[in-house]
């Protein structure tokens, strides 16, 4: 029963990088949808007053908060660039080049994620 919801059959039938990218797209999509509601709730603290909002924002200004925000960035980057790859494949007839495009997505995500480390973790020295 549970295996149906974990795409187990698909994984056993087709172990390819494309299936992995599809599953990661689903996973990041769910994670980002959950975050959306958490974000609306956090910003909604402003309805209780200025101090409540500032307190809610300060709650994320620590190592755990930075790690969460960085994981969020990784999810956004992958979902966004892989989504753009799918749109390009849909509209520009690039289906046959999907695999190559996926590696370009991986490189772009890795470069931006590495460069963003210094922004998301203020404890890291910025001038290395």
């Amino acid at each position: 029963m549970l295996s149906k919801y974990l795409y187990i059959k698909e994984i056993s039938l087709n172990r390819s990088i494309n299936l992995f990218s599809f599953l990661l797209m689903r996973l990041t999509g769910i994670a980002l949808s959950v975050f959306l509601f958490l974000h609306i709730w956090t910003v909604g603290q402003v309805q209780k007053g200025n101090d409540s909002f500032n307190q809610a924002m300060s709650a994320y200004n620590n190592l755990a908060g930075w790690i969460m925000e960085y994981l969020l960035l990784l999810a956004v980057l992958y979902h966004m660039f892989n989504g753009l790859r799918l749109i390009a494949a849909d509209f520009y007839n690039l289906t046959e080049r999907q695999k190559g495009l996926l590696w370009i997505v991986v490189v772009i995500v890795a470069v931006i994620a590495s460069a963003s480390l210094f922004v998301f973790f203020p404890i890291l020295p910025r001038n290395i």
């Binding site: 795409y7 402003v46 909002f53 924002m57 966004m80 998301f120 203020p122």
Partner: protein
């Protein structure tokens, strides 16, 4: 030519994706690169005194809510639900989406008051 609602939603999922991609880059740059931590009400309110930014955030919110919930609907459809479950999910996701949009836009309003 009649366009089916499925084709319309497929197209809108792509359009909202492009709006979100552009909007999120601006959102991340403004809130993570240009504003010093921690984010405070005064820093956000300063930006939201401009109607353009309120409009930008509202459009981004609507696009994100639509994209997220239609994405969830697609994931549910992966598991071939019955027509009854599908119908229930459509109503449920519409209620969630409209509520999130109204609450989200209402949350922007306190920032527009002069501090």
């Amino acid at each position: 030519m009649k366009v089916s609602s499925q084709a319309f939603n497929w197209f809108m999922q792509r359009i909202t994706a492009l709006i979100i991609a552009a909007g999120l880059i601006v959102h991340f740059v403004v809130l993570h690169f240009l504003i010093e931590r921690p984010v405070t009400i005064h820093k956000v309110a300063e930006r939201l005194q401009s109607f353009g930014w309120v409009l930008f955030d509202s459009v981004l919110l609507i696009a994100v809510v639509y994209h997220a919930l239609y994405g969830c609907y697609n994931i549910i459809n992966d598991f071939k639900p019955s027509d009854r479950t599908k119908g229930f999910m459509v109503v449920f996701l519409w209620v969630i989406g409209l509520t999130a949009t109204i609450v989200g836009i209402a949350n922007l309003l306190p920032f527009t008051k002069p501090m």
